[in-house]
Symmetry: C2
Subunit: 427 residues, 2 copies
């Protein structure tokens, strides 16, 4: 029997359906891995082995499959509500806090047979103040954030799939640093009932997985769409967008992006260099920050009012900036974002997906800073689907992902391009 914790979600579901192993055996292997590695990695905020095994055994007793995720263990970022397990937001203000029930994305996974394995560490309120999680490739380095525990748990084979959320770069950055797949869908694709908002016009639920198929498999359950697992038989038409942030990237990232573009072109994909109109610089440097801070001050209003002392300085400063912000500036930022979303379609003309830098470089040393979010944020505000693909490594041997983005609602096309890209870069 292989280590069942190393299987993909798709293979877990298939193996259980074929009665090769039980859901309980899968959960036990995941729990064993967690017991062995958690003292180093600290990926989980809450883990309740008895509760996980109870769910698995209930599934094993069922006469037929509950759904496409039957027996698949899932980690849930600790700003997403769950029944039975606390939701602590990475904040002392929510110590042992229990929500009324599951968030929509948790309930839908449960209805499809998933095992809710545990709550993964989040940076404070999905912001920049980190939890204790370490990078599985080198525990002296950050795993990224804010979906720190989700990325580390998946990359370290504790669980095949975990939920994250991305307001700036909170799914793709930890995925790139930990060397797994990070998928941020088109804005609002996955229902957000039951999550804690950071900035509600940007917050997007996403997935950390080890395979592209797993990202599509779980998404399919959440959006009520049979997964296509479409594989392109012709090369995609690719764009290469360095973004205005290119000069701030480390050599490791510049190499990853240029190497990918070169090898994919050699494999037959036309690669067109894309320079976005100047308006996009303002979108990134001013507007995204305005939207984020303004909305953050509102969503934090209750906690800020009563317990400013229990909120980190980095988050408190953002809240203060948000409260000082004029409503007119916020609306102007929203309207600029809308214009750029309409304009980005032109940039995609004749292109299936764009390759872009995902992170500044390798995961920084130390656990106090989850890394620069700029490269992920740039695309988040445009609302299209984005993936971090674990294609390269840097000089310290740590993973450096590349980012693949597609037009809004073209998540299917993104999956298909990502499969083609991963296949060609593996050779």
């Amino acid at each position: 029997m292989p280590d069942l914790n190393k299987l993909s979600a798709a293979d877990v579901a298939k193996g259980i359906a074929a009665k090769k192993f039980t859901a309980e055996a899968v959960v036990r292997d995941c729990l064993d891995r967690i017991a062995a590695r958690e003292p180093t990695i600290h990926a989980f905020a809450t883990i309740d082995p008895d509760y996980a095994l109870m769910q698995a055994r209930a599934l094993d007793r069922m006469p037929s499959s509950k759904g496409p995720l039957h027996g698949v263990p899932i980690g849930v970022k600790d700003i997403i509500n769950t029944e039975h397990l606390p939701t602590e937001m990475g904040s002392p203000l929510y110590k042992a806090h229990r929500s009324h029930g599951d968030a929509a994305c948790v309930a839908l996974a449960r209805m499809a047979g998933a095992v809710i394995l545990g709550k993964t560490v989040t940076a404070e309120f999905a912001g920049m103040f980190p939890g204790p999680t370490a990078n599985p490739h080198n525990p002296a380095h950050t795993p990224g954030g804010s979906s720190s525990g989700s990325a580390a748990a998946v990359a370290d084979f504790m669980v095949p799939v975990a939920y994250g959320t991305q307001t700036g770069g909170s799914v793709l950055r930890p995925a790139a640093f930990c060397g797994c797949v990070g998928y941020k869908p088109t804005f609002n694709l996955i229902n957000r009932q039951g999550i804690c908002f950071a900035a509600e016009t940007l917050d997007t639920i996403g997935l950390l997985t080890r395979t592209i198929d797993d990202a599509e498999l779980v998404t399919a359950v959440l959006i009520n769409k049979p997964p296509a697992f479409f594989k392109r038989d012709t090369p995609p038409r690719l764009g290469l967008c360095r973004t205005p942030l290119w000069d701030t990237a480390d050599d490791a990232t510049k190499h990853a992006v240029e190497d990918a573009a070169k090898r994919l072109a050699a494999a037959g994909a036309p690669v067109k260099e894309i320079v976005l109109p100047e308006e996009f610089e303002k979108l990134y440097y001013t507007a995204r920050e305005t939207i984020n801070n303004y909305e953050r001050s509102k969503s934090m209003a209750a906690d800020w009012q009563h317990h400013p002392d229990k909120i980190s300085k980095v988050l408190g400063d953002r809240v203060k900036k948000g409260f000082a912000m004029k409503h007119e500036d916020y609306v102007a930022a929203l309207q600029l974002a809308e214009r750029c979303r309409a304009r980005i379609d032109d940039a995609y003309g004749g292109i299936d997906a764009i390759i872009s830098p995902c992170v500044k470089g390798e995961a920084p040393k130390g656990l106090n800073f989850t890394g620069e979010p700029a490269f992920q944020q740039f695309w988040t505000v445009l609302n299209g689907p984005a993936m971090s693909l674990p294609t390269h490594a840097g000089p310290q041997g740590l993973p450096v992902g590349i980012q693949l983005v597609a037009p809004r609602y073209r998540d299917d096309a993104l999956f298909a391009c990502a499969r083609w890209v991963m296949e060609k870069l593996a050779h």
Copy 2:
């Protein structure tokens, strides 16, 4: 001393600031009114007089004003989280449920000095299954819904201001039926942290008030913008849009809209008849329903999974329809809505605001049906600001509001037009 419960929020704040009366006196008059009328009206799901008085006395003890709402009592729809008071969602599933703390809109009002007076009755999960609230103008008739208690409490002088939410017509319909002002801002203007979602791409927090100024006063606090209270000195350029639903309206509504248009034209406003492109019919008849049902099935997934028996038939049927819905149809509906939002700007060309029917007619008899939401829904999906103005009455003497709508983010212009319209129609 006048009945302080009959004052507007603006006059409450002014009177307390001028030391004409205390916050405690205002709250006492509101509580007296509630004690006298609540056995007939049933506007409140939870009211805790001691807690309300405690807040008022704490404000009275402060050496200076806490903010622009100092001492203003506010009713909060029972799907919006509040500390101290339960949030029961109009559902037996949430009996005595306590949230962790205030929703953003409640926290921000509290920071500006508001007294959270109580939780107002909502239809089940802000849908169509009504609570016990009766229409203050005739308790044998529905107050409308789903913000039933908020509209009834404001119209019946129990509280000057109450929060509502609108996914289809849940702020404007009860306002029109109860004869108060209903204001649904531009989508996403008021932060939604801490509310229960019905359909998250439509849900909008709005206000029930007795004056237009009060709607602007409270909104200003929530969005961090000084209120302009702008009064037009020239007539606005108005549109008259009967919508494709015109033939379904009662004579009372047809009369209200046509009478308003005639008198406003006589007062100097150019009134241009507007016929929307055919695409808008599909938007209303198919797309809005698709978006609503699809998102409803997701946001209800946890409760539906565990307690389908405790969910009303009308809501359960909607959830089932939503679960059966294809993701492609949902995305097509979202995209149609986006196209129409872009196109509506053309319809507004040279027009400040559009007059449109608000309700089918007077509030129907009986408390089992909160009335037809079609006329409000039509504009909700277009995301612009909308107001119900208490301008007319029907043959049974019940209020019949007209609807005034404006382009997205032009909430200020809507307030100014609404003031002009109310002034001219009062003469």
